[in-house]
C-alpha cells in the first residue's frame, strides 16, 4: 500500500483518475457500440449476434447509411439545424459577451448570473413553455398572425402561423437552450483581452468598428471556435428538442438512433448510425487541433 500513497503516487493517482473514468465510461462503451455495429440483427435477446450462420463482420448497417435516403436526410437535417443554431447563437451571443466585458464589475456578476439562470429550472419545462408559446392557439401565435394579417392584403391572411413541428422551431429552441454555452467561453476569451490594445488601435486612426474588426475579432477566434463546438456538437445529436417541437417527417439523427434502438430494435443499425455521427463530429475537430498544434510548434521554433 505504502508503495502507492507517497507524494509521486498521489500525483499519479490524481492524473490517472480522469483517464480511468474515460476508459470505463467512454472508451469501453464506445468499443461495445463499435462491435455492435458489425453484428447482425437476430430475434434473440440481446437482439444481435455474431458468427454461426451470420458473418463475423457485417457491414450491412454502414452500407445502408449511404444507400437509404432516410439516414442521409437525417444527417443533413441535423448538420444544417446545428449549423444554423450555432451561427445564430454566435450572432446573439457575441454582442452579449462583448457587452458583459464592458459593463462595470458589480453589474457583470449579476448579468453573468442571469445568463446561467435558465439552468436552474428544468430543461423539459422550458421546452414545454416554448411549445405553449408556439402552439396554434397561443396568445403569442395569435399576436404574430394578427400582425401579419394587418400588414398584408386580405388574400394572404392566415388563421395561425405554423411554428410548431418545423425546423424553425427546432433551431429556435436550440438557440435558446445552447446560448449560454456560446456566451460563457466567448466571455472568458474576451475578458482576457487587453483594453489598451483597443486604445492603441484607436490612437493609430481606427474608428470603433475598425478597432473591433482588426483587434477584437481576430483575438477572439479561439473563443468563437470553443463556443461554436460547444453548441454545434450537442445540437447535432439533439434528441429531446426535435422530438418535442420538430417535424417528425424529417427527423434529426438523434431521433433516428433512438428509434432504431427502441422501436425497431435494430441495435446493429443504431450502432452504425451512432459511430458514423461520432466520426462526423470528431473528424473535423481532430483535423482542427492537428493544424492548431502544428501552427503553435511552428511559431515556437521561429
Amino acid at each position: 500500500m505504502g508503495r502507492w500513497f507517497h507524494r509521486r503516487g498521489w500525483s499519479d493517482i490524481i492524473i490517472g483518475a480522469p483517464y480511468v473514468w474515460l476508459l470505463v465510461f467512454f472508451l469501453i462503451p464506445f468499443l461495445i457500440v463499435v462491435a455492435m455495429s458489425f453484428a447482425t440483427r437476430t430475434s434473440t435477446a440481446p437482439p444481435f449476434g455474431y458468427g454461426g450462420e451470420n458473418p463475423l463482420f457485417n457491414l450491412a448497417g454502414y452500407a445502408r447509411l449511404f444507400t437509404d435516403a432516410l439516414y442521409i436526410r437525417a444527417f443533413v437535417t441535423s448538420l444544417i439545424n446545428a449549423a444554423v443554431a450555432m451561427v445564430l447563437c454566435l450572432a446573439v451571443g457575441y454582442p452579449m459577451a462583448l457587452g458583459l466585458t464592458r459593463v462595470e464589475k458589480g453589474w457583470r456578476n449579476i448579468l453573468l448570473m442571469l445568463v446561467i439562470l435558465p439552468f436552474w429550472t428544468s430543461f423539459l419545462l422550458r421546452v414545454y413553455a416554448w411549445m405553449g408559446l408556439m402552439g396554434a392557439n397561443s396568445w403569442f401565435n395569435r399576436l404574430i398572425s394578427g400582425a401579419w394579417n394587418w400588414l398584408v392584403p386580405q388574400a394572404w391572411a392566415v388563421t395561425s402561423v405554423p411554428l410548431m413541428h418545423t425546423n424553425f422551431a427546432v433551431v429556435l429552441v436550440m438557440v435558446y437552450t445552447y446560448l449560454p454555452f456560446m456566451i460563457l467561453p466567448l466571455y472568458a476569451n474576451l475578458e482576457r483581452l487587453d483594453p489598451t490594445l483597443d486604445e492603441a488601435a484607436m490612437d493609430l486612426g481606427s474608428r470603433p468598428f475598425a478597432v473591433f474588426r482588426d483587434v477584437t475579432l481576430p483575438q477572439s477566434i479561439p473563443g468563437i471556435i470553443a463556443g461554436g463546438m460547444l453548441v454545434f456538437i450537442p445540437a447535432a445529436g439533439e434528441l429531446v428538442i426535435p422530438t418535442l417541437v420538430g417535424d417528425s417527417s424529417s427527423p434529426m439523427i438523434g431521433r433516428v438512433i433512438s428509434d432504431e434502438f427502441a422501436s425497431a430494435r435494430d441495435w446493429p443499425m443504431a450502432s452504425s448510425v451512432a459511430v458514423a455521427l461520432l466520426i462526423l463530429m470528431v473528424g473535423p475537430m481532430m483535423v482542427y487541433s492537428h493544424f492548431e498544434a502544428r501552427a503553435q510548434t511552428k511559431e515556437k521554433s521561429e
Binding site: T196, E199, L204, G205, E302
Partner: protein
C-alpha cells in the same frame, strides 16, 4: 513667440469625487521633449490620456497646433501614443504592427511598404520584420512600439513611461536612442515618467506634478538647482532641509537655523522680510568635507555617523551636536578611496558650502 504646439488651458479632470488633475495650464513648443514628472497618482497619466483623447477634460481646453481638441476623437488627432505596456497587437507581425496606422493614410501599397521599411530601419529592427511580438525581446518590443507610433509622422508623440519596463543598462542606452530619434524626426515628445533621472536626461523642460497640480515647470537644471518648494526639492534628488528664520538681508541672506545651532548664509531671493520663517535647502553634493577646522562663515562641525560607498561616490551622514544628521555626497576622485577615504566612522569633520548653493524656500 510662435504659437506653441500644445496649449493646455485650465484643465481639470474628476473621476467621481476624486480630482485627478487640478487646473493645469502649460504650453509645449514645437520640437521640444517635455516631461511630466511625478509619483503615482499625481495625475500625469490622466493628463497624457486627455492629450491622446481617451479622457475628456471636466473643465478647460486643450489645443494642439492651434486647434481645439474638445470635439476631436482619438482617431482624428495628430497625436500618437507609445503605451507603457507597448500595447503591440499580438496577432500581427512586427511589420504589420508598424504599418497598422498607415492603413488610414492615403498612400499606395509601395509607399506604405517603403515607410514601414524606413521605420524599421530607424529603430534597427529590419531583420525582425516578420516576427510576432512574443518572439522578440522586451527592448525590441519597445522599439516596435516607438516605430508604430512614429510611422504616421505625428505632430506630437506621447510616451507613457517609455523606459520603465527595461532593465538599467538597456534603459540608459535607450534614453540616448530616444533623444537621437527625436532629433532626427523633429517630432515633439511629451514623456510621462516617475523617474527623475530619466526626466532630467531626456527633457528640454520638466513639469513636476503632485496631487493633480503642476508644482514647477522649467529646464532640468533650473528645476534641480532652484526648486520653488520643498516638494520639488525633495522629489528631484535628495536634499537637506531645515526650518530657518531670516536674520538679515544683504547681498546674501543670513538665517538662523535652530537645527544647526548657528547662523548661516544663503542665496539672495526677492520678497523676504526679516523674521520670516523659511526652509533652508542644501543639496548633499554642494557640501565639502574638511578633516581639520576651517575659518570663516558657513562652517558646520560634526562627526561621521554613517557612510555608504557606491564606487564612484560615497554618501556620508554627519551628526551635529544637536543630533541632526546632514547628508553629504562626495565623489571618490582618488583610486583606492575605499581605504583612503575622506573621512571614517566617528571622525570629527568640518563642513562648508558656498552661500549661493543654499536656497531658501517659502513653500
Amino acid at each position: 513667440m510662435t504659437e506653441p504646439l500644445v496649449r493646455i488651458e485650465g484643465v481639470s479632470k474628476s473621476f467621481g469625487t476624486f480630482q485627478a488633475v487640478k487646473n493645469v495650464s502649460l504650453e509645449v513648443a514645437k520640437g521640444e521633449i517635455f516631461s511630466l514628472l511625478g509619483g503615482s497618482g499625481c495625475g500625469k497619466t490622466t493628463l497624457l490620456r486627455m492629450l491622446a483623447g481617451f479622457e475628456a477634460p471636466t473643465v478647460g481646453k486643450i489645443f494642439i497646433d492651434g486647434v481645439d481638441m474638445s470635439a476631436v476623437p482619438p482617431w482624428e488627432r495628430p497625436v500618437h501614443m507609445m503605451f507603457q505596456s507597448y500595447a503591440l497587437f499580438p496577432h500581427m507581425s512586427v511589420e504589420k504592427n508598424v504599418g497598422y496606422g498607415l492603413k488610414h493614410e492615403k498612400m499606395s501599397a509601395a509607399e506604405r511598404q517603403d515607410r514601414v521599411r524606413q521605420m524599421l530601419d530607424l529603430v534597427q529592427l529590419t531583420p525582425f520584420a516578420t516576427r510576432k511580438p512574443h518572439q522578440i525581446s522586451g527592448g525590441q518590443r519597445q522599439r516596435v512600439a516607438l516605430a508604430r507610433a512614429l510611422a504616421r509622422q505625428p505632430k506630437l508623440l506621447l510616451l507613457d513611461e517609455p523606459l520603465a519596463a527595461l532593465d538599467k543598462k538597456l534603459r540608459e542606452h535607450t534614453q540616448f536612442e530616444l533623444m537621437s530619434i527625436q532629433e532626427r524626426t523633429g517630432v515633439t515628445f511629451i514623456v510621462v515618467t516617475h523617474d527623475q533621472e530619466e526626466a532630467m536626461t531626456l527633457s528640454d523642460r520638466i513639469a513636476v506634478m503632485d496631487q493633480g497640480v503642476v508644482r514647477q515647470i522649467g529646464k532640468p537644471g533650473a528645476v534641480y538647482e532652484f526648486p520653488n518648494s520643498r516638494f520639488v526639492a525633495n522629489f528631484l534628488g535628495s536634499i537637506n532641509a531645515w526650518e530657518a528664520k531670516v536674520v538679515s538681508i544683504g547681498e546674501v541672506i543670513t538665517v538662523d537655523v535652530p537645527a544647526l545651532g548657528q547662523q548661516v548664509q544663503a542665496r539672495f531671493i526677492q520678497g523676504l522680510a526679516v523674521g520670516q520663517t523659511v526652509t533652508l535647502a542644501l543639496r548633499p553634493e554642494k557640501i565639502t568635507i574638511h578633516r581639520s577646522p576651517v575659518e570663516g562663515v558657513n562652517v558646520i562641525a560634526g562627526e561621521v555617523k554613517d557612510l555608504a560607498y557606491f564606487g564612484k561616490d560615497s554618501l556620508y551622514r554627519i551628526a551635529l551636536p544637536s543630533g541632526q544628521l546632514v547628508s553629504v555626497h562626495a565623489v571618490n576622485a582618488n583610486r583606492g578611496a575605499e581605504e583612503d577615504r575622506l573621512a571614517d566612522w566617528y571622525d570629527k569633520v568640518w563642513l562648508t558650502y558656498p552661500p549661493a548653493s543654499a536656497i531658501l524656500l517659502v513653500e
